[in-house]
Symmetry: C2
Subunit: 353 residues, 2 copies
């Protein structure tokens, strides 16, 4: 591959397009719309491919991510986060509502009032519920209470959403999908009891989004599925043929069964859930494991001597958590086969606010 230097993040454009198409088709076949989470790729070019394939709007995590995509013309954005809106953030949201159909997450009555007070009421909201991940969100049966407070504050309550993040554990995705379906149904009923008809019932995570579990959800918001990563592999949510993003790395040191690569936590991210078998995988070498990770070193145990790379050789690393890897890079290098075909700026890199 004609690349001067490593580490570099490569995106196999053919695999990417296949992942994008499959998720749209899967959601459509079950009567749901797809609003992919753009925090994974942070790239305008990939977001356009998702919309061109049939996705309806984008999900983002922060106001600054919304600003980047709005500046590029994306006009239907959901900030899937219970923002605490003060004067400064309120002014930024008001500026967005001029040009974007904007929806924001809320998970408290006071958060809803803050939003209305500082950003105005030209904003839709979805009430976040906890479907088992125990991060943010109210209990499903409390959704109506928060929704009524939001409506009293003048906000347009459009429905409910959840993130079934407890799908990120071994053997967990199927149960998490069922928890999600149950919680969303309860929350939607809670809104109806409060006199509010939910037009959006939104869920989804990459480990659960392709599972055919009965649900009343109207919308899915997976993010990681566009690229896949080592976590999805180990959860059984992706096969190696679905991995679109890898970090190209060079062997800088070697001894016995170990090679050390020049891609560390500042290129791959430091994610390593307790259930993971290592800090990342090697494309095409299922028995190799990254057993230690420093900022610029990946220590790889590579048992097969016939494939073990020598000093100076390049290999492709599958990061554990691709969202954090992408957020460390300034650009993604799109390839088709062994040819570099495009370079995509990580336009929303570092957009944490």
């Amino acid at each position: 591959m004609d690349l001067d230097t490593t580490p570099a993040l490569l995106v196999d454009r053919d695999v990417l397009d296949r992942n994008i198409a499959r998720m749209v088709a899967s959601a459509r076949s079950r009567g749901m719309s797809l609003r992919p989470h753009a925090k994974t790729h942070k790239c305008l070019e990939i977001a356009r491919r998702q919309l061109d394939a049939g996705a309806r709007g984008l999900t983002v995590a922060t106001v600054s991510e919304a600003e980047v995509f709005a500046d590029a013309g994306f006009d239907d954005l959901f900030v899937a986060y219970p923002l605490w809106v003060d004067t400064a953030r309120g002014a930024r949201l008001r500026a967005l509502t001029d040009r974007v159909r904007l929806t924001i997450g809320i998970d408290s009555e006071s958060g809803a009032r803050q939003l209305a007070d500082h950003a105005g009421t030209a904003i839709g909201v979805l009430v976040e519920i906890d479907s088992g991940h125990h991060r943010t969100g109210v209990r499903p049966e409390q959704a109506g209470t928060v929704a009524k407070a939001a409506r009293s504050a003048g906000l347009d309550v459009r429905g409910v959403f959840t993130f079934p993040g407890h799908s990120y554990a071994l053997d967990a995705p199927d149960n998490a999908a069922r928890d999600e379906a149950g919680a969303l149904a309860t929350a939607a009923d809670s809104l109806r009891t409060a006199g509010i008809d939910p037009s959006v019932i939104s869920g989804g995570s990459s480990p659960t989004a392709l599972l055919d579990v009965p649900t009343t959800a109207t919308e899915l918001r997976p993010g990681v599925y566009v690229f896949g990563d080592a976590q999805q592999l180990e959860l059984g949510a992706a096969a190696e043929a679905d991995i679109a993003l890898t970090a190209l790395a060079t062997v800088v040191s070697a001894r016995d069964e170990v090679v050390v690569l020049d891609a560390g936590s500042k290129a791959l991210g430091a994610d390593r859930p307790a259930w993971a078998t290592g800090y990342g995988r090697i494309l095409g070498e299922p028995d190799a494991r990254i057993t230690a990770l420093s900022e610029h070193h990946a220590t790889v145990h590579w048992p097969n001597p016939s494939t073990r790379p020598h000093l100076g050789q390049r290999v492709r690393v599958i990061p554990n958590h691709v969202c954090n890897a992408v957020n460390l890079a300034d650009e993604l290098i799109a390839v088709s086969g062994d040819a570099v075909v495009e370079r995509w700026k990580v336009a929303a890199r570092g957009c944490n606010t």
Copy 2:
């Protein structure tokens, strides 16, 4: 504090300067020079403070970090990494040698030949040895063999270096410092046996750098000590009064004994060694723990109801591993007491190549 938005990385400038001065004084009192690792801060302003306080040159991890500091006039740089130097990287190194006294790490005979072939011989080298971390570096008694190969290739062999990274474990720093001292002495002897007198014998890590262990080292290269972090706290290498960098974060969700902050792994980094008690600490609240971390959420178990913050309140988070937190930010906000005094660009952010 007069800051519009969160998350944001704050540096207490007074604590920073105290940390900088203490390390210089400690090294000097033991007859060693200090070459701090700039990968931690990646800031020109902080590097200048280190040199002004008495540090001798900088350590960096990559060629692109060296380029950033060289462009700003820093003229004595050690790349503490066994670079694999191909044509492209060789050209970049040649361009640096015009204006910088440059030293590079090597840990193989073929790596040394690559360096000489592609970057020329106007470069000094230190042979990297493994003092117990088992990452890169040759065994101490092999240092002379690599040094002779480097000298045969025409390189200026200046000495040996190691990183005692096995100091990053509970109760490990003291033993790691002793391992380091023994390994460096053996490696220096190995060079002398090969007819090369080492002028630089370089070691150091933040958990070990202040320990008064007898050593023949001439130079220390700690990085994290400027800021401190939750890892250093838990290793006993820093007290809370030594913590100079925190992430200002806002409470966005709350329930029972839990508050959720808007600083996640995209602001703090995802580091969590097995021995750590959580994903980070809260300044001034030693019993609070970050028990889960998503990209934009820190889930904090906060047992004390009288200090537990309410929705919208701001708190200061101590990241587990400050080097990875800094590399996610575009700027550091320097404060003195509660006043913002300067803004420092993270000039070498993302410099992985």
